[in-house]
C-alpha cells in the first residue's frame, strides 16, 4: 500500500519535472506560433506545453493568474482542422494523423489585445511516432522485464522506419508527378507560344498590307 502510493508520487513528480524543464520561447500575447510536422499516416503525436506570463513589475516569469489559456489548432495537409481546443495554462494534446503530409500545429493565446501586449513564455515538447510512446508506463502495465521492454522498443523503432520508408515512396511519387507535369507544361506552352508568334506575324503582315493598299501608299 505504502509502496504503491510512493510509486504514484514519484511518477507524478517525474511527469511534473519533464514538463518543467523543456525548451522554451517567447511570444507576444496576440501572436500565433506554428510548427510544421511532416509525418506519415497513422502516426501518434503528443504535445505538452506550459505557459508563463511576464510580470512587468518584477520582470520575472510566473504562473498566469488571469486564466489565460492557449488555443491549440492542428491542421492536416488538406488545410482541414483536425483539432481546435482551448486549454488552460498547462496542457497536453494528442492526435493521430489520418493522412500523410505536412501537419500544422499552431498555438495562440485566448487573450484579447486590450490586456496590453505582454510577453508569454511557452515551454513546449512535441513527441512524434515512437518518441511518443512511454515505455515506463507500458512496462508497468504489461509487467515486462527490461529486456522485453527493450525488444518492444526495437520493434516500435523498426515499425517507424518502415512507415517512414513507405511515406518516402509516396513523396517521391508526388515529386515525380510534379516534375512530369512541369515538363508537359513547358512543352505545350512553348508550342502554343511559337504558334501564336507565327500567327501574329502573318496577321500583322496581312493587315498592314491591306492597310497600305487602302491608303494608296503602296
Amino acid at each position: 500500500m505504502e509502496n504503491h502510493s510512493y510509486l504514484i508520487l514519484i511518477i507524478s513528480l517525474f511527469q511534473l519535472i519533464t514538463i518543467s524543464y523543456s525548451l522554451y520561447f517567447h511570444i507576444d500575447e496576440t501572436e500565433r506560433k506554428c510548427f510544421i510536422e511532416e509525418i506519415p499516416d497513422e502516426t501518434l503525436v503528443i504535445g505538452k506545453y506550459r505557459v508563463e506570463l511576464l510580470d512587468e513589475n518584477t520582470n520575472t516569469y510566473g504562473a498566469t493568474p488571469y486564466g489565460i489559456g492557449m488555443n491549440v489548432e492542428i491542421k492536416d495537409p488538406d488545410d482541414k482542422i483536425v483539432l481546435s481546443k482551448l486549454y488552460t495554462s498547462e496542457g497536453r494534446f494528442t492526435f493521430t494523423s489520418h493522412m500523410p503530409g505536412e501537419h500544422l500545429i499552431c498555438l495562440y493565446s485566448n487573450s484579447s489585445a486590450w490586456f496590453g501586449r505582454q510577453k508569454l513564455r511557452i515551454h513546449l515538447d512535441i513527441d512524434v511516432g515512437e518518441h511518443a510512446i512511454d515505455y515506463q508506463e507500458i512496462g508497468a502495465r504489461e509487467k515486462l522485464t527490461e529486456l522485453q521492454l527493450r525488444i518492444r522498443q526495437l520493434l516500435d523503432q523498426v515499425q517507424q522506419i518502415a512507415k517512414e520508408q513507405n511515406y518516402q515512396r509516396y513523396r517521391e511519387e508526388r515529386f515525380r508527378a510534379t516534375s512530369e507535369s512541369t515538363n508537359q507544361r513547358v512543352l505545350w506552352w512553348s508550342f502554343a507560344q511559337v504558334t501564336v508568334l507565327v500567327i501574329a506575324g502573318f496577321w500583322q503582315m496581312r493587315h498592314l498590307k491591306g492597310f497600305f493598299l487602302a491608303k494608296k501608299l503602296v
Binding site: I17, I36, I161, T178, R185, W189, H207
Partner: protein, 217 residues
C-alpha cells in the same frame, strides 16, 4: 521503514532531476526575423543542436548559441546544415537564436533537433538498481547496440526527408511559376502584336491631321 523508503524516493527523484530530453521542431522564420529558444541546463550535461534549412531563398540562416553569462559559444552565418555537440560549463539558461535578418523577402523553414543528455522518457531504465556496465549480458549489450543503430538510422531518414522536401518544394514552385509566366508571355505576345499594328496605323493616319492642324494655327 518510512524514512528509508522516503530517502530512496528522494534519491530517485534527484537522479531523475537531470534535465534530459529531446525536442524536434520545424518552424517558419519570416524575413527580417529572429527566433530564439532557451533551456535551463546543469553543469556537465551534454547537448547536441542540429539544424537544417528546408525551404527558402539560398537555404541559409545565421545561428548564435549563448551561454548563461552572455558569452557566445558558437556563431555561424549563412549555413544550411550544422551539428553542434558541446558540454555545458555553467549552470543556467542557454539560448540559441536563428536569424533571417539578412534576407529581405524570403522566409525560411528551419528544422531543429535539440538533444540534452539522451532522452529519459524514451530510453528504458531498469526499475531495479542499475548493475555495473560489465555485468550486462551479451543480449542486453547487443540490443543496446541495435537501439543505437536504429536511432542513427531514424536520424539519417529525417535528414533525407528534409532534403527531399527541399527538392519537392522547389519543383512545386517551379511548376506554378512556369504556368504563370507562360500564360503571361502568351498574352503579352498577343498584346504586342495588336499594339504594333495599331501604333503603325496611327503613324499613317494622325500625321495628316496634325500637320493640317499646325497649318490652320
Amino acid at each position: 521503514m518510512l524514512t528509508i523508503s522516503l530517502r530512496i524516493s528522494f534519491l530517485l527523484i534527484a537522479f531523475i532531476l537531470k534535465y534530459i530530453h529531446t525536442t524536434e521542431l520545424t518552424f517558419e522564420l519570416p524575413d527580417n526575423a529572429k527566433e530564439c529558444f532557451h533551456e535551463k541546463l546543469k553543469v556537465g550535461s551534454k547537448y547536441v543542436l542540429e539544424f537544417q534549412v528546408v525551404t527558402g531563398g539560398n537555404y541559409d540562416v545565421d545561428l548564435e548559441l549563448k551561454s548563461p553569462s552572455g558569452k557566445i559559444l558558437y556563431q555561424t552565418t549563412k549555413k544550411q546544415y550544422e551539428r553542434i555537440e558541446q558540454t555545458a560549463n555553467e549552470d543556467g539558461v542557454y539560448e540559441f537564436c536563428f536569424s533571417n535578418e539578412f534576407s529581405t523577402f524570403t522566409h525560411k523553414v528551419i528544422y531543429i533537433d535539440w538533444k540534452v543528455d539522451g532522452d529519459p522518457e524514451h530510453e528504458i531504465t531498469g526499475a531495479s538498481p542499475r548493475v555495473a556496465e560489465g555485468a550486462l549480458t551479451m543480449i542486453e549489450t547487443k540490443v543496446g547496440n541495435i537501439h543505437q543503430n536504429l536511432e542513427t538510422c531514424i536520424d539519417y531518414q529525417t535528414h533525407h526527408r528534409l532534403r527531399e522536401a527541399t527538392g519537392r518544394a522547389r519543383a512545386e514552385d517551379l511548376q506554378e511559376r512556369v504556368q504563370i509566366w507562360s500564360l503571361g508571355q502568351f498574352i503579352l505576345i498577343i498584346i504586342v502584336a495588336i499594339g504594333t499594328v495599331l501604333l503603325l496605323r496611327s503613324f499613317f493616319t494622325d500625321k495628316r491631321t496634325s500637320s493640317h492642324m499646325t497649318w490652320t494655327k
